[in-house]
Symmetry: C2
Subunit: 425 residues, 2 copies
């Protein structure tokens, strides 16, 4: 550890970091580590979709003309594929438009404007309501709550999911807490997968609110980075067994399986929830884009087909994660300036830097042309109280650009870290 270094040693390290930084500044970099976007070569894996469903192919397995109106539930054969992967009975899984974020947003809309199963009234009539926000978490989740004026209560993430001691205490005591965000597998941004015990507690815990919902965003259900296909417990089955069938809203999508902008989103839940959902949806839609469903069913084929396809993604992006981890290790091991996650799947690495330095690091990186997700983005309202979390999204850049960007990032970590340490002496 270098934390015992004297002022002289620190000054030397800082000088070295400054030299590296000014050298990088001269290079005119333009690199981007901000968003969890697939790279073009990943999208290429699904280019068959550009000519599917194919000439004259227009009917679903049951004979439905996919081109016409109707079929609010989505194409049965596509739902069957993802029912298995998302752990929802096919009759209770709906296929919809091109985004699960839309479905999560609309779940709030419908709960705000129509009483949920189990609710005494719609949320908009219940006065201020709250949501639990495991942190670090996904900024777009938090933006939805913020947009509707829903107060978020941060809950620390642990190695096994949200701190369940905190969660169970809060939800038992406060009926205005209406739900919790959850990314159960390869979580954004920590990579954590919820333990069986965490899932069981979420499913079984008493809640003061009768209309409590777990927003189970299974965004990375098949997004493995290692040989281990990590599994997560079946929350819907556990909740149902515990008498809380209506507690769970399951979300998923093909955004990071096929095309990020032209995939299919899924919503799954209990029978009562699905009936409620369809009742509201029927006022909004005459049916989703079933041709795109047909296209996806033809391309992916089966749940096993999805997993085989995800192996191709892994072959492209695992080296990017490895390169990122290697550079972090080469540059920061032993400095005491950073620790980071080593995810087994998903799209992110979380870098934790000394308290009070994350914003400055992101700003310094921006000055030399390296865009990072704003520090704080992983926290409600963009406010990280420790200012110590930086999310790295390694997938989109080329390997070469990624390596340059991560190296620049570690240079900024050292620059800001040593500056801070010198000031503190």
């Amino acid at each position: 550890m270098t934390t015992d270094l004297g002022a002289q040693d620190l000054t030397a390290l800082l000088d070295s970091a400054r030299q590296d930084y000014s050298e990088l500044a001269g290079r005119g970099l333009k690199l981007d580590l901000t968003r969890g976007k697939p790279a073009p070569d990943q999208l290429d894996l699904s280019n068959e979709l550009l000519t599917l469903p194919g000439e004259g192919v227009l009917k679903a397995a049951d004979g439905t003309d996919t081109r016409n109106y109707g079929g609010l539930n989505g194409l049965p054969e596509l739902r069957a594929i993802f029912a298995e992967l998302l752990q929802v009975p096919v009759a209770q899984l709906l296929a919809s438009g091109n985004s699960s974020l839309e479905l999560m947003h609309d779940a709030f809309v419908q709960a705000l404007l129509s009483p949920l199963p189990g609710a005494q009234s719609r949320w908009v009539d219940q006065g201020p309501i709250k949501f639990l926000a495991p942190v670090p978490g996904y900024d777009r989740h938090f933006s939805i709550c913020e947009r509707f004026g829903i107060e978020m209560i941060p809950v620390p993430m642990t190695e096994t999911g949200p701190d369940m001691e905190v969660v169970t205490r809060l939800v038992a005591a406060d009926a205005s807490i209406k739900g919790i965000w959850a990314i159960p597998k390869y979580s954004n941004p920590t990579g954590v997968t919820y333990s069986d015990d965490t899932v069981r507690q979420l499913a079984e815990m008493p809640t003061a609110a009768p209309d409590f919902r777990i927003f189970w965003d299974n965004a990375y259900s098949v997004h493995h980075l290692t040989d281990e296909r990590v599994e997560v417990a079946d929350v819907l089955a556990l909740a149902t067994a515990a008498g809380h069938a209506d507690r769970v809203f399951v979300f998923g999508s093909t955004s990071k399986i096929t095309f990020a902008g032209a995939g299919v989103g899924f919503f799954g839940a209990s029978e009562a929830n699905v009936k409620w959902w369809l009742g509201n949806l029927s006022k909004r839609s005459i049916g989703p884009d079933k041709v795109n469903h047909l296209r996806h069913a033809a391309f992916l084929g089966s749940a096993e087909g999805v997993l085989a396809h995800m192996d191709k993604h892994r072959a492209l992006i695992a080296p990017k994660f490895q390169a990122t981890l290697r550079i972090l290790s080469e540059q920061l091991d032993g400095t005491g300036l950073g620790t980071w996650t080593e995810p087994k799947g998903g799209y992110f690495i979380t870098l934790e830097v000394p308290e009070g330095t994350a914003s400055d690091i992101v700003a310094r990186a921006a000055e030399i042309g390296v865009a990072l997700t704003p520090a704080g983005a992983a926290h409600p309202l963009g406010q990280d109280p420790k200012d110590s979390i930086i999310r790295i999204a390694p997938t989109f850049p080329t390997l070469e650009n990624l390596e340059a960007a991560v190296l620049a990032l570690t240079t900024c970590v050292k620059l800001v870290g040593y500056e801070q340490r010198l000031k503190q002496q």
Copy 2:
């Protein structure tokens, strides 16, 4: 006119209708005139979409990779095509998912949950609000208001659009009236096109509500049935000129141009409205299905390309409208039992039958296997106070089935009409 017939003549006519009816009942018909759906041969016109955008074709004109996230406004080249057809400046026209109904629903959602430009508060905080509903009108419009508990005030449709004397009086006096539904061209179900004077009044009229909106559902903008391509005045330009730029929400879609279930919806409005819309939308979506936009832009090519494509639709469906009108005329002329519209475009013919008979006619038709839109559907809450409006949707059945269905319908009109008249004697 047969209204002067004596009891004996009436009885003979009724007997004849009864005989026809029981003969039809024996045929085991299974015919459907309910929904304004394109027929399979119409959908075939766009089958190129089943293999578009084509192998390796993935970039927008500006180089954007359509497969990835982003591009909340929709594909610029597709917006340019429809900007012309929907009379909205391209910068203010957004391309979205597969349905304009969704956009209309979501316009209510956003106005309920976020203050509109010009609004003092969001609609959900304004107490009971109302909407004007021109009748006969479109049932799915009315269902959206009903779903959100918004009271609808029926306004009679005339030959030139909604009765503007009623409209202007109501909106000037009542600040709780927040908007009006409008299908300006080839209206559902009457086929009426708003006169220039109607459009001008809608654009210019004083409204007590500062956040009044015209929901301008230009669903049939290019859906001509005759050589005359009927035009409607540019409501957005007129409203802007009158100092009411924010008054108009324009909606449109390709649902009845390409694939009914797999097309593209459009939203257009003033700059301030679009900014408000995108601000809310950015919390919901990372962008629409741009690959489908690319597919559509490649297929349709230009505004002129859309019009040429619509000529092909016309060639398929104009004969169905003509056959319907011919049978109505052959069977009902001179009976005094019905009058009907002769639309120059759109998807519907409205049949007006004697007061108090529409529901019974629809029920009798159902009994012999002919499905009609429920009587009353063209009115708020499904309640037609005169019980006299029947909507005929001629496009979906084959010509043969259509002719059988319309003949059966006219038999039911005679059966019920003569029964009523005999009772009234």
